[in-house]
Amino acid sequence: MELSMSGGALRTFSRCVTCLARIGSDLVFQAYPDKLELHTLNSSRSAFASVSLTRDFFDHFHLPADAYADAAPSSTPLQCSVLLKSVLAVLRTPTSAIDRLNASLPNPQASKLEFVIHCVSGRKKTHRISCSAESDVQTLALDRNGFPSRLAIRPRDLTRLLSNFQSSLQELTVIATEPAARLPGVDDGTGGKAVELLSYIDPTKDDYDSRLHTQLWIDPAEEFLEYEHAGDPVDVTFGVKELKAFLTFCEGCEVDILLFYQKAGEPVLLAPRFGFDDGSSSNFDVTLVLATMLVSQLNDGSVPQQPPTSAHHAEEPRAAAAAPSPVPENVSNHTRIWSELSGLTPKSFEANAENRAQKERNGRANVLNDTSVLPNTNAPCKLPVTYNANYIEQPVQMDHLEEPPG
């Protein structure tokens, strides 16, 4: 296999490798007559990333003819597996200093993959990376048309939404409902929050109480470029680290993000959304498949993972001071943000009700978050967390979710 790339393709290749390196540690190259595929699987086998580069992506793409006895595109590809760390070392040279990059694997049994960088300065750097014997290469191909639901979002919008969550957040839950389903008689100020993003914190972990729990209600029409969901609400919980790696990649390539999902337990698929109006297609594609948690957050009928009232801790200056959820500057009226630093282990509704009543009798405690965008009223609400009852619309929202739709 011999290939050569330069310019924009080289920059895209570099971004692909950087993205894959944030997900897994081994890179599998598979060369077909018409394309090159790169795969990686993360160590916990919950994320599989795949990059596909067509012949046209490269300045030069050559496969030895005898590797394909039957010359069928689906025949066994020429493949090798290398450490992503090593490929990153090759790409340490800034792409602006590279005139062109050649890669070659002389034969399927070759022990080293060779990269040659022709620098703008005139230097020629040749890297030879050992290939590991990877007899069992896992690949995963999901048909994106097989997913009933999808959404498309701009990378910068997703970045903005994610910035409301604690940066060390590991897992995120997305709850999707039908956009049109609203309770009758509801004040239209709530309308359209069909999607919810929730931080997922493992309840069995010791630091559950001290973690920041965040929920966002989103109007798909406001935040997403596309949103398709029909039927029952579904929720999917997946890893944030891999999501962020993919997000950075799309940002660099200036493409939007597509998320295909089905339901809890089924994997989600992320892909770039190439906006080609003229019928042409991109010469590269990247897909990220993330496993989702089997347990649905919607099953118990109450707001998922709802931390209880923090009434006790609201009065502690420590807790109050430690609630740093920042309000994005350009928050729209349609996106509600609620964050709380919980101080108690999850309790039942009834136990909290007493706390709530106590709280209201004591007057308003310090608000732990900065929901300056929300109207300030004292409506009674059914939320387990009520320290300041600032949400007039949210109770209605929650009601909607608690009731089985339909």
Partner: protein, 303 residues
């Protein structure tokens, strides 16, 4: 307080071996820092009528010399017979000189040797209001500094000159394979190859015809190939001051008889704002205030 220029100010009847005044202290610090690859290094300082030479060595395999010619000094008064030599800590000398470089206050420094107890004396001159005074203990050098009698490999030197920034970048890149680096000279086609093999291999080729700007000079009439330990090679460029990189200076790499590697850099010690240019490719320019830095690296023995 006027700057002291006359000798005979020392204690007792003897004139000091050397009294000199440095007016660009940070330039001197740059030049000396170039050869500081470890925090604690002993240096041997030699004072002659031509200037000061500071020599640093490690493990008998790596030696560096800083040549500070008399032109670099505002004043230079050598009063000794012969060439006095003494040892001191390079780190201490550099840190001490740094104390004199107060931002916005460029004060010349007078260096005097020996003090009453054979120490090196430094003091700021030029300000009537204040004086910074320092002394550094010296010692008798343990061994005679190993003079790497550098001889050329053949009739003509085998050498190439490349931008210091590119040389430094290449040696930094070779950290990835690390361990032992092979340098090969090929006369035809004219090229130099740096090669490292480790958990991965990296080969960097400087080809004369690849780009007219790459190899500023190249001379080679025979195939040569020697190996050097990466950490010694690294020391030759790791502390090249940023002024060298910004001024686009060239570094000259030569392999001598037996595989001895010589790498030379130029560091300007000019006063800020003064133009000073001198390059290896020849041609005389304005009077230069350049410190010459030389590194010698012994090749690895072939088993």
């Amino acid at each position: 307080m006027s700057s002291s220029t006359t000798s005979g100010q020392g204690q007792g009847d003897e004139a000091p071996d050397l009294v000199c005044v440095v007016d660009c202290v940070h330039g001197m610090v740059d030049a000396l820092s170039c050869v500081r690859w470890n925090k604690h290094q002993g240096a041997v300082v030699e004072l002659s009528e031509h200037g000061i030479v500071v020599t640093v060595e490690e493990s008998g395999c790596l030696q560096a010399k800083v040549y500070l010619k008399t032109e670099l000094f505002a004043e230079y008064d050598h009063g000794a017979e012969g060439r006095p030599r003494f040892g001191l800590s390079l780190g201490l000398l550099i840190d001490c000189l740094n104390m004199f470089t107060v931002p916005g206050f460029a004060s010349p420094v007078e260096i005097r040797y020996p003090g009453p107890d054979m120490q090196l004396l430094l003091r700021s001159v030029g300000s009537p209001d204040a004086c910074i005074h320092a002394e550094i203990r010296t010692r008798i050098p343990d061994t005679v500094a190993w003079d790497y009698h550098f001889e050329h490999a053949g009739n003509t030197p085998v050498t190439f000159t490349v931008k210091s920034a590119i040389l430094k970048e290449s040696i930094d890149d070779l950290e990835w394979p690390g361990s032992s680096i092979q340098i090969q000279f090929h006369p035809d086609p004219p090229s130099v190859i740096f090669k490292g093999e480790g958990h991965g291999d990296l080969e960097i080729e400087f080809s004369y015809y690849a780009n007219t700007d790459l190899l500023i000079a190249f001379q080679c009439d025979q195939e040569l190939s020697y190996r050097y330990k990466y950490k010694f090679l690294r020391a030759t460029t790791s502390n090249v001051p940023s002024s060298v990189l910004k001024e686009n200076r060239g570094s000259k790499v030569t392999i001598g008889r037996g595989g001895m590697l010589k790498i030379q850099h130029l560091v300007s010690v000019a006063r800020l704002g003064t133009q000073s240019y001198h390059n290896f490719a020849g041609g005389a320019q304005q009077p230069s205030r350049i410190a010459f830095i030389e590194f010698f690296v012994k090749p690895e023995e072939d088993d």
